[in-house]
């Protein structure tokens, strides 16, 4: 069975990753410009929403309401190594500083008295906060966040699936109306209608069905490029790009989904991948192991992954970020609001619930000819747990070795690069039988 290593917090020196793809660099640049523009629009009195990642932000896009995603903000603050200070503020206010670090960064930032010095000029003052009842803490965090700013908090309900149909990735793009339980879709549609009316009322902007259809179409175009890129990476040996390339190239456009820019960005990303394939460019030209990363990405230390490319010719080529973009988002059909509801009815299960996630991981591992899986199990988030026993069992039974690691991917304080690196090295050498490159040995 899998090996498990406990990661103990110690001093943290994190290497930054090397950016290799132009689409990733462009996305970072775009995001900066976009954020400047958000600041400008807010200063001119436009509404601005702070939303959790699982909120159907397509509604906001269709209404042209600028918004910021809690988890993007968390990743930015982590990348800027600000999480330690922010969690200190939480503690001062009597909040816990060691749980829900990924999701509480927004609240922490709201408590920050030196806001202007925060990442990228800080978060502009929002006018509405929106979250879903996806776990017991997130609605409380958003409520408190909204209270700090004196703004309304709009919660959206969440439902639990009872049926467990097979092969969701083959069904949800076209057959979503039959695939998801009717009562769940109906309720989600009602919730979205409520949100729309609330936004219309509070912002003075009218919702347009036509615009939503356009947004949904743009998203389909964007995700189709991710599908093509995902397929290319899966079948190309050695892999043309790794997750340090794909995650930054995909994540920002995913936050910007529903825009023409996001489609262009996804296209550029696909073309870059294709170009790399055509030119024979590879993450590890002498690729000796193709690895899969399960769990949240290490925002503050993407360089971690690149270390193994160099030392072992071991490329991390699959993560859920491109994977879910390719498989989870596409929705074709005539009823954009219901299609949107179906996108959000399933996302939790696909990522976090066996058998849906286990089946999907095995499918991805097989498609990508994966040699081993490194699985980061979240220690303090009941919502992000994925059924670690079942994941490991399913993958190991399918002949794919798994290394389980426990750490918090956002809180740099709880990250010990040395122990973590040693655990992966041990896995590569002793489970996968990969010796380090002679010139890279210490």
């Amino acid at each position: 069975m899998s090996e498990e290593k406990a990661i103990k917090p110690t001093e943290n020196k994190n290497a930054a990753s090397v950016k290799r793809m132009q689409s990733a660099a462009d996305a970072s640049q775009y995001q900066r410009e976009w954020f400047k523009d958000v600041h400008k629009r807010v200063s001119e009195g436009e509404p601005f929403d702070f939303v959790n990642a699982d909120v159907p932000m397509e509604i906001l896009r269709a209404m042209d309401i600028p918004f910021l995603v809690n988890q993007w903000w968390a990743s930015l603050c982590s990348a800027k190594q600000m999480s330690g200070d922010l969690f200190g503020l939480m503690k001062e206010e009597g909040y816990p500083d060691d749980i829900c670090n990924y999701c509480s960064m927004g609240l922490a930032a709201a408590l920050d008295p030196n806001h202007a010095e925060a990442a990228w000029g800080g978060m502009p003052k929002p006018t509405i906060a929106i979250a879903r009842y996806a776990c017991d803490s997130i609605n409380k965090l958003f409520e408190l966040y909204a209270q700090e700013y004196g703004i309304p908090f709009y919660p959206i309900e969440n439902t639990v699936p009872i049926n467990t149909p097979d092969n969701w990735w083959k069904e949800v793009h076209y057959n979503w109306n039959e695939f998801f339980e009717k009562h769940r879709l109906d309720f989600m549609v009602e919730e979205l209608k409520g949100l729309i009316r609330f936004l219309e009322q509070t912002t003075g902007k009218m919702f347009s069905e036509t615009k939503l259809r356009e947004v949904m179409d743009l998203i389909n175009q964007q995700e189709e490029y991710y599908q093509k890129a995902r397929d290319l990476i899966a079948k190309t040996k050695p892999a043309p790009v790794g997750i340090t390339d794909t995650v930054p190239s995909v994540m920002i456009p995913q936050w910007q989904r529903g825009t023409k820019w996001a489609v262009e960005s996804a296209k550029k990303f696909y073309e870059e991948v294709k170009d790399a394939v055509d030119k024979g460019i590879a993450v590890c030209p002498n690729e000796r192991a193709r690895l899969m990363w399960i769990g949240r990405g290490l925002w503050f230390n993407l360089g971690f992954y690149q270390y193994f490319e160099k030392k072992y010719d071991a490329a991390f080529i699959w993560s859920m970020y491109l994977g879910i973009a390719a498989d989870g988002y596409l929705r074709y059909g005539d009823d954009p609001l219901r299609a949107l509801a179906s996108r959000f009815c399933g996302m939790e299960e696909f990522l976090h619930m066996p058998p849906w996630n286990t089946d999907w991981f095995i499918k991805a591992a097989r498609e990508n000819d994966i040699d081993g899986v490194v699985y980061l199990v979240p220690d303090n988030c009941t919502n992000a747990v994925e059924g670690s026993y079942f994941i490991v069992k399913a993958l190991e039974d399918a002949g794919i070795p798994v290394l389980m690691l426990r750490a918090d991917p956002v809180n740099a304080k709880k990250w010990n690069p040395k122990t973590m690196t040693e655990a992966v090295e041990d896995f590569l050498e002793n489970r996968l039988g990969i010796e380090p490159n002679p010139d890279e040995e210490e």
Partner: protein, 386 residues
């Protein structure tokens, strides 16, 4: 604290201490038994269909090797213990398990148990049912809940192969209403100027109702209330307990040992279990929905503001001089409420002692005792009832 009650209490205490073993006493009733996980399963409906619903609770004294293997570290220790008891056969007499959407970890537990039944069914042969109730205080959620309640009624009828007759529904609803009414009367004795019921006794009496038929509990409750009238007056500093649910009396006894009279609590195994509107057999689906959706705010599922308002109101009603906020490790959601709750209570001059990240087995009793005693001394000069 030495405080005694009469024979009815002794009987209730015995059932409370035996928990799932006590359930077997009623095996001769030939009723099928349903195990409930989470405190929001509409037991009225199960009772109306002829089932005997019992609560599945954890046990801080057991080891959890199977839970360690299948569940996550992030899961609350009580949930892990509940799982361990189920897979180790402690509840082998159950016909079925119904899990309510009472917390995120219970949703995960359902997913995990469902998957276990798919891949290793021999470890968990008991069928599962998930009751997806919503707690948000919105009409849309009420409508969703009504459908789930209706669906639950249909599922239960399907399990028994019989329709629930109106008489049976009426009877079950009346029994549950009476049970909640009797427990409310007990609560009155607890908060009276001359209290007759201690916190430990209240916890025991409330808890016993989860492991015995409600009709039997009602009979014992009536005797208990009678006998309690002549019990000695409870002495001690009046304290309200908020936070994580207590599955045994360990923490309450510890507090009482420090000179505390626990006048109320907001957790599922205390006053929250019986606070709420009556259920009406005339409108079974609607009133069951209303009860479970609108009763005292759930620690896990409520908004901070809702919970703070409800607790502040309760604390005022009970005349507590202070409050203790107890949070067990992994009971994360409760932690977010604390700063607001503290402010709310301090605004009515009720100081709060925070005891957070507590271990399930309370293995730091001495440390807790010191903190509690210090707190009690610090508030002894506060105005308020003793």
């Amino acid at each position: 604290m030495n405080h005694s009650q009469g024979k009815a209490y002794e009987e209730l205490a015995k059932i409370y201490n035996e928990k799932e073993t006590a359930v077997k006493r009623w095996e001769s009733n030939n009723q099928k038994i349903i195990g409930c996980i989470g405190y929001d399963v509409p037991i009225e409906i199960l009772m109306a269909a002829g089932y005997f619903p019992v609560q599945i609770t954890g046990d801080s004294k057991i080891k959890t090797p199977v839970a360690d293997k299948y569940l996550e570290i992030a899961f609350d220790a009580s949930v892990r213990a509940q799982f361990e008891k189920i897979v180790s056969g402690k509840y082998s007499y159950l016909d079925r398990i119904v899990i309510s959407n009472s917390s995120d970890v219970l949703i995960r537990l359902y997913y995990y148990m469902r998957q276990m039944r798919r891949v290793e069914e021999e470890l968990l042969p008991i069928p599962l049912y998930f009751f997806d109730i919503k707690f948000s205080q919105f009409r849309s959620s009420t409508l969703y809940n009504r459908e789930r309640v209706q669906e639950f009624i249909e599922a239960v009828q399907c399990w028994t192969g019989k329709a629930i007759l109106p008489d049976a529904m009426e009877n079950a609803f009346n029994v549950c209403n009476e049970n909640r009414k009797l427990l409310k009367q007990m609560q009155e004795l607890r908060i009276a100027d001359e209290p007759k019921v201690t916190g430990t006794e209240a916890l025991t009496v409330i808890g016993a109702s989860l492991y015995m038929p409600k009709e039997e509990h009602n009979k014992l409750m009536k005797k208990f209330l009678d006998e309690a009238q002549s019990a000695q007056t409870v002495k001690g500093t009046r304290i309200y307990v908020s936070g994580t649910a207590h599955e045994d009396t360990g923490f309450y006894e510890l507090l009482e040992g420090c000179g505390v009279h626990i006048v109320g609590e907001d957790h599922d195994l205390g006053s929250r279990l019986f606070m709420g509107p009556e259920v009406s057999p005339a409108y079974p689906v609607e009133s069951v929905t209303d009860f479970y959706q609108t009763r005292f705010p759930s620690i896990k599922k409520s908004h901070v503001r809702e919970r703070v308002a409800a607790v502040v109101e309760q604390v005022k009603n009970t005349g507590a001089k202070g409050a203790i906020y107890f949070i067990r490790k992994s009971d994360d959601a409760a932690s977010w409420d604390y700063p607001s709750l503290r402010k709310g209570l301090e605004a009515i001059n009720v100081p709060v002692l925070l005891l957070d990240k507590q271990n399930y087995n309370l293995d730091n009793k001495e440390e807790l005792q010191n903190k509690i005693s210090e707190f009690i001394t610090s508030i002894s000069n506060q105005p308020g009832r003793e």
